[in-house]
């Protein structure tokens, strides 16, 4: 800065000073909003915490975003957010964690429909995810069609996740992670998915090769000379021309033997 600003220009120096102060003041509310008090795990920034905190309100101070609240509960919740971020959890996971524990009331602006779904989420959307899944107890019935209490609970969970912002793939992945691969209608792992179609494909190819070879042989046989063929099961036997390299004696002997048999 010294190099760029001439020493005699005091006004400019003042201006820059004021700008720096302004920037510092603008940053100040954020520092305040982060609330302080919580210990940030390594790699977690206050901004990351605030992105989530500003969407939530604690149960004691309804409506006041977590990032602006200084109560003990809010500080604890911010700490929870920071800890979960430190554990590598995503924003959606953390939001879902709070909704599971405290209900939709803790999400600022969440409007809940009579069917328990957040506004903007429909039962059809829930079912469109559910139909790609199976619960791990009901035998082979897709989740959207199953009427057991467990499946109903899972559909509610899907509805909640859609409300938090998960997409179809994220939801299925989460369920697979929690309940195992049987939950999804198709394997989520790319290698397994390839294997699923590769196995029948290869078997069919193998059958095709064997079948193709067989057809080729049938075609060859159709052109072979000297072969006795039956044109139909009930029809007479017919012969193809005898090849020239077959000895006449042999043919005569065979014909005589055949006559003897007749």
């Amino acid at each position: 800065l010294k190099a760029r600003v001439p020493e005699e220009d005091g006004k400019l120096r003042k201006l820059i000073f004021l700008l720096l102060v302004g920037v510092a003041l603008m940053a100040a509310p954020d520092v305040q909003a982060q609330g302080g008090g919580e210990n940030l795990p390594p790699g977690v920034t206050p901004d990351q915490v605030n992105v989530i905190a500003q969407q939530l309100t604690c149960t004691d101070c309804a409506g006041v975003p977590l990032n602006t609240c200084q109560t003990e509960v809010c500080t604890e919740w911010r700490q929870e957010i920071a800890d979960q971020l430190g554990d590598g959890k995503s924003e959606l996971d953390i939001m879902d964690w709070f909704v599971v524990r405290y209900g939709w009331n803790v999400v600022i602006g969440a409007v809940i429909q009579p069917n328990g779904l957040r506004e903007g989420v429909t039962q059809d959307e829930v079912n469109n995810v559910a139909k790609l899944m199976y619960c791990d107890v009901c035998e082979g019935i897709p989740l959207d069609a199953c009427e057991s209490a467990a499946c109903l609970e899972w559909r509610r969970e899907i509805g909640r996740m859609l409300g938090v912002g998960y997409d179809q793939d994220q939801i299925i992945d989460l369920f697979v992670e929690r309940h195992g691969g049987d939950v999804a209608a198709l394997p989520r792992d790319k290698k397994d998915l390839r294997l699923v179609f590769l196995v029948p494909g290869l078997i069919i190819l193998l059958i095709g090769i064997v079948g193709g070879y067989q057809v080729w042989r049938f075609r060859q046989r159709g052109h072979q000379a000297g072969q006795v063929v039956r044109r139909s099961s009930s029809g007479p036997m017919q012969t193809r021309p005898v090849p020239e390299d077959v000895e006449t004696d042999l043919i005569e002997r065979l014909e005589q033997e055949l006559k003897g048999l007749q």
């Binding site: 082979g140 179809q168 209608a185 699923v196």
Partner: protein
């Protein structure tokens, strides 16, 4: 009859049937090997007697059910005092032990019929037919007698309050009769379920007979065309029953399971589909062997595969290895059934390999043209086999990968749901439909592309016309809306983007192509029938007599064409109901009691409760269906709640509930609604299933076609005699007229 006598009669007759089957097997084998006719006759009589014995056994069980004899464990598990008499009968196949007995009874009935019908015509094969049928029957009866005995009773041991279950009195216990039973699974209380399992069993069991003939042909070396003729009729009977079973199962699922569909690629559904696929392949290739003397080895392989798939399907349903809504509970029969499957496979493969190695299965295997009918039939067989592989893998992937994981070969288990099937199956089905159109028009032996092209010209034109028509019809906004909604559910606020619109058009195009394809196959079949009718008409016959004579003269062929037409109609239903199905779920609230879907609007009116005479509670929704402003129907979807007696609580408790759909059904499609209660809120699941009824119409045509193919033809001797007389007279006439 006293309760004790009923059970004891059942036990004795089942055991006697097992002994008779065992004797028949040994006597037939020894008789055939040592050429002792008396032994073979004795084996035949023993095999025949299994049928009346098992009829008595089944009759006893049925009698016990109708009389609520709860001293028998099986009766108490499958019936109760509230079950209506009509459904008491279904208890016979409603549980593991009873259904095994029912299986055995049907098996003995088929054997009985086969021995009576084919004894003279296939005399040399019959000893080994007895061996194969009695080995299978004996195995199932062994399961019945030693593992799953339906006549097991409750016994009370004096001095204790414990009840024990045993066939015979364990010491000095006394027989105990429960006051009421558990009752049949309510899901089975449906007309479709009364007919569906017997049909499936008839299909399964029916395929044992063609297998037995094939086995006998392999064992005796009588590999000419006679076994295939005897086998074809039996295979067709079995195939028809299996088709009926599959269709009725679909109808049951549609009516009772409440998911708006008829086919869910469930492992047990697949288990029944697999032998149907190989059976279909066999019925086609058997024609080639009959006409051209080709494919002997292939036919043997197909019928053996069909039998093994029947046993595999039975194993899947009863072992608990695959999980399914249709499967019986896990039981002890899995291991012996697997052993039987392995032994059957080993024996068949060894016999087949031995005959093949000796060159006995070599027929006139030559192809003159790749476009000949036999070539196309061969391709058709390959496609059916490919379908079998795809479905088999989809059904057994979980079991296979579990074994692989147990052996340390894999880390994960692959479980395939219904999403696996459409991409894997559709290309093969397309090719099968193409062949269904082309193959009947191709000539045997010598066929050229030009001649075939000429024959399929009209079907292709009709198919293309239908593609264009279907595409244009589907472009009206309603259809587009339905299709787009079905394919882009993720659009939360429902805005169709340009890309989505294009993809929707693409879907419509695919559906239109599908309709075009079935139209092509249907027109090709109709063209072939028309050619025959027209030829007779030119000779002076009216159209209807020409048609009926044509069909009567070659029932096999024209029955087959009717089956193809059935498949065409069924295809229309499948395409319509899958490509354009739409569904929505709606929670009814006081201010919001309408659901709009497809061309209809459902208005929920009110909810009432009722109780049925069989003790179930019913929650009935009353709803009006409007098309535009016009009221077209009143529907009443309902939930039935079934109760059972709980001894621990000493009261009836809600055991199961079932959804009965309310449907407004037209040719255009079904507007189908089911209800459920969630947290005291009424939730409607509504489906719009366009063209779905074509599935059932197609099924009916298919069964009628099979009946035509099965109907016995006139005696060939008489026909030949009359033909000869006529030809002779014609020849004389020609000579008298100077000849040509």
């Amino acid at each position: 009859l006293e309760a004790t006598l009923t059970a004891e009669f059942g036990v004795i007759t089942t055991a006697l049937a097992l002994i008779a089957a065992g004797f028949a097997l040994v006597a037939a084998l020894v008789g055939a090997q040592t050429r002792r006719e008396m032994l073979v006759q004795s084996a035949r009589n023993a095999a025949l007697v299994t049928f009346p014995l098992l009829t008595v056994a089944c009759g006893m069980l049925l009698y016990a059910m109708l009389n609520h004899d709860y001293s028998i464990v099986y009766v108490s598990e499958t019936t109760d005092n509230a079950t209506p008499t009509f459904y008491l009968v279904t208890g016979l196949w409603g549980g593991q032990a009873g259904s095994l007995l029912f299986w055995s009874w049907l098996m003995s009935a088929f054997t009985f019929a086969a021995l009576l019908i084919n004894w003279k015509s296939e005399r040399r094969l019959m000893p080994y037919v007895i061996v194969a049928t009695m080995a299978t029957l004996g195995f199932f009866l062994t399961l019945n007698v030693f593992f799953e005995n339906p006549f097991k009773r409750f016994w009370e041991i004096p001095g204790t309050r414990n009840l024990t279950e045993a066939v015979f009195n364990p010491g000095n216990a006394t027989a105990y009769t429960l006051p009421d039973g558990n009752g049949l699974n309510p899901l089975l209380r449906h007309l479709g379920m009364v007919i569906h399992p017997p049909m499936l069993y008839l299909g399964y069991v029916g395929f044992v007979i063609p297998f037995s003939f094939a086995f006998a042909a392999l064992a005796t070396g009588q590999l000419g065309s006679s076994w295939i003729r005897a086998t074809r009729a039996w295979a067709l009977v079995a195939w028809m029953f299996l088709s009926c079973g599959l269709l009725l199962g679909g109808r049951w699922a549609y009516d009772v399971l409440g998911w708006g569909g008829y086919w869910g690629w469930d492992p047990v559904e697949n288990a029944a589909l697999l032998p149907w696929l190989t059976g279909t392949a066999f019925l086609h290739s058997a024609v080639v062997q009959d006409k051209r003397g080709m494919l002997k080895f292939w036919n043997m392989l197909l019928i053996i595969m069909t039998f093994l798939l029947v046993i595999l399907g039975t194993f899947a349903t009863r072992s608990g290895v695959v999980s399914s809504v249709h499967a019986f509970a896990e039981s002890q029969v899995g291991r012996p059934m697997f052993t039987f499957l392995a032994l059957s496979m080993l024996t068949s493969v060894i016999l087949l390999a031995w005959r093949q190695q000796r060159g006995d299965l070599r027929g006139a295997d030559e192809l003159d043209s790749l476009l000949s009918r036999e070539s196309l039939f061969l391709l058709n067989n390959w496609l059916f086999l490919a379908l079998t592989v795809v479905v088999l893998w989809g059904t057994w992937a979980e079991a296979i990968t579990t074994i692989a994981a147990d052996l340390g070969l894999r880390d994960t288990v692959i479980n395939l749901g219904k999403d696996y099937y459409p991409p894997a199956v559709t290309p093969l089905l397309i090719l099968i439909y193409i062949l269904m159109g082309v193959a009947p028009l191709a000539a045997w032996r010598k066929a050229t592309a030009a001649r075939l092209g000429q024959a399929i010209r009209i079907p292709i034109l009709v198919g293309l016309g239908v593609v264009v028509l279907a595409y244009l019809m589907n472009l009206n906004w309603d259809w587009l809306w339905v299709s787009a909604r079905a394919h882009f559910p993720e659009s939360r606020f429902w805005h169709i983007t340009g890309d989505e619109l294009w993809r929707t058009f693409r879907e419509v195009i695919f559906a239109a192509l599908g309709f075009g394809l079935v139209a092509f196959a249907g027109t090709a079949t109709l063209t072939e029938i028309w050619k025959g009718v027209e030829a007779r008409h030119r000779r002076g016959e009216n159209y209807w007599p020409a048609f009926s004579t044509l069909v009567a003269r070659d029932r096999h062929r024209y029955g087959g064409y009717f089956i193809h037409l059935g498949m065409v109609v069924l295809g229309i239903g499948v395409i319509g109901s899958t490509a354009f199905q739409d569904t929505t779920v709606h929670t009814m609230t006081p201010g919001d009691n309408q659901v709009k879907l497809g061309p209809y609007t459902l208005v929920h009116n009110n909810l009432t409760e009722a109780q049925s005479s069989d003790g179930r509670d019913m929650i009935i929704a009353h709803a009006s269906v409007y098309r535009g402003d016009k009221l077209v129907d009143e529907i009443r979807p309902r939930r039935d709640i079934f109760y059972r007696w709980d001894p621990s609580q000493q009261k009836y408790v809600a055991a199961t509930n079932m959804s009965i759909a309310g449907t407004h059904s037209t040719m255009e499609g079904d507007f189908y609604a089911i209800i459920r209660l969630e947290d005291d809120q009424l939730v409607y699941s509504v489906y719009w299933n366009p063209l779905i009824n074509f599935v059932w119409y197609g099924g009916i045509i298919l069964v009628l076609g099979t009946l035509v193919a099965l109907w016995p033809s006139r005696q060939p001797e008489l026909a030949t005699e009359s033909t000869l007389k006529r030809q002779g007279a014609e020849l004389e006439g020609a000579r008298a007229g100077g000849g040509r």
